[in-house]
Amino acid sequence: MPSTSIDTFFACTILLAAALMSTAFLTSTMQTTLSSTQDINKESYLKGIADNILTNTGNPTNWGLSNNVPMDFGLAANSSIENYEVDPDKICRLNPQNDYSLSYFDLENSAKLINIGLGITVSQIMSINIQQSGRSTIGNNENLNFTILTSIDSKPVSATLQCYIVANNYLGFLNNATTSDIGLGFINTQIPIGASGNSNLIVFARSSFDSRITSYTIYNIANSSQESTPNNDLLDLSPLNYRLTLSTNSSDLTVQGCFIFSYNYEDQSIINIQNIQNSSQIQLPRLIDNSPFVIIVYGVENGLFFQEWTAYPQIPLNAGSNFSGSEQNVFSYIVTINGILCKLDISLGDVPP
């Protein structure tokens, strides 16, 4: 073979390698460009869906008041003149702990989302953290000390506190407590010995700079633990349209009364409902207060005092898909629910190809 042929073959190999490399480079570059464009389009598309869910009332517009599945899903308050105002009853119907909650299937169908995952999270803007710092006995009373920390997005903020203690035949108030600029506050209270067995501390915190930022939390004194969501072991509580539906599996349970608390107000209804049926309902007073409401129902089960709680609207809540192991696109909003500011996240999954 002549040497020129070998050299030509060698040169052609180099040229071919360079051409192949450049083709591969161009392909990957174009692919990245195309997928980036698709990302932008997808994000705009999903953002449009999230905006629509939040700003649309749905059909019927007052679907939150009934136990029917809406034809169109939307969270905006009916006939609201404010932007980003969400209906508290529609929020309640998203909470899986509510007897009238929408199933995931109903949620997807009414939102007209085909093969796109949907998740909704509603949380309070201000977090309250309670820690029991001391417990001692003085005479016939138990002395309890608590440390309270208020923060927004992990940043400590000052707040004014309103605290209530509900125990067996005992209701206590703690007014005028505050947390400092570093978000730290202390409360000290006494409850009769024997009453602390099944008692709850309810803490409302209102930020010093905006009364619409009002949060609540519950501290179970018997278990020494903070509860962000109710357990409802004995009694299921489902608030909707200022009516509380009670349901239980216990055959020997008597409901004796019901408290409703807000930041500024407290109301007690003495009732006596024995052998609760699923349709047992309690009418709740319409307190006018920029505050979440905490409802406590108490009574006797097998001769022992019990109390169960829920909130109205039922926040914090997580509804819909948890997006475990799949793509999640989160869109965050600040919304108004019953006069209080809350954070609402709408999560949407990947768009099917």
Partner: protein
Amino acid sequence: MNFLKNNKGVARVIEAFLASILLMSCLSLVPVPPSNMKNPTENLVSTANNILLSLDTNGHLATIVDGRNWTTLKECVESALPLTTWFNLTVFDQGMNTLNPFPISNAGPLNDKVISVDYICVSQNSNYTIYVLRLQLSELGST
């Protein structure tokens, strides 16, 4: 001897090398887009509008500006934004004169991609004073 005198093949190899270098140089000029090119600007504008509209329910923002409570105004905006978002709020009167005597901001801007949204609110007092609120946002990590 004939083999050693034949230099045509070497010239072809050199030509091929030069052609390859030219080809690769041209390709290096093709701009490479970032692998995860999102659209932070659009989201930030939407966030700014959402925050201003939500905070202004019942004319709340204008009431704060009426009272010249700049610290309260700062805390309000700060509470509605995540810690990773920088903001700067400027309040103007009808004649676009700045009213806040010091910057209402949480830090220096995190990067040079800053969005700006103007929002008009009206005081609910008898004068119906008009204010223009300019909210600038920038997000940590946006490129």
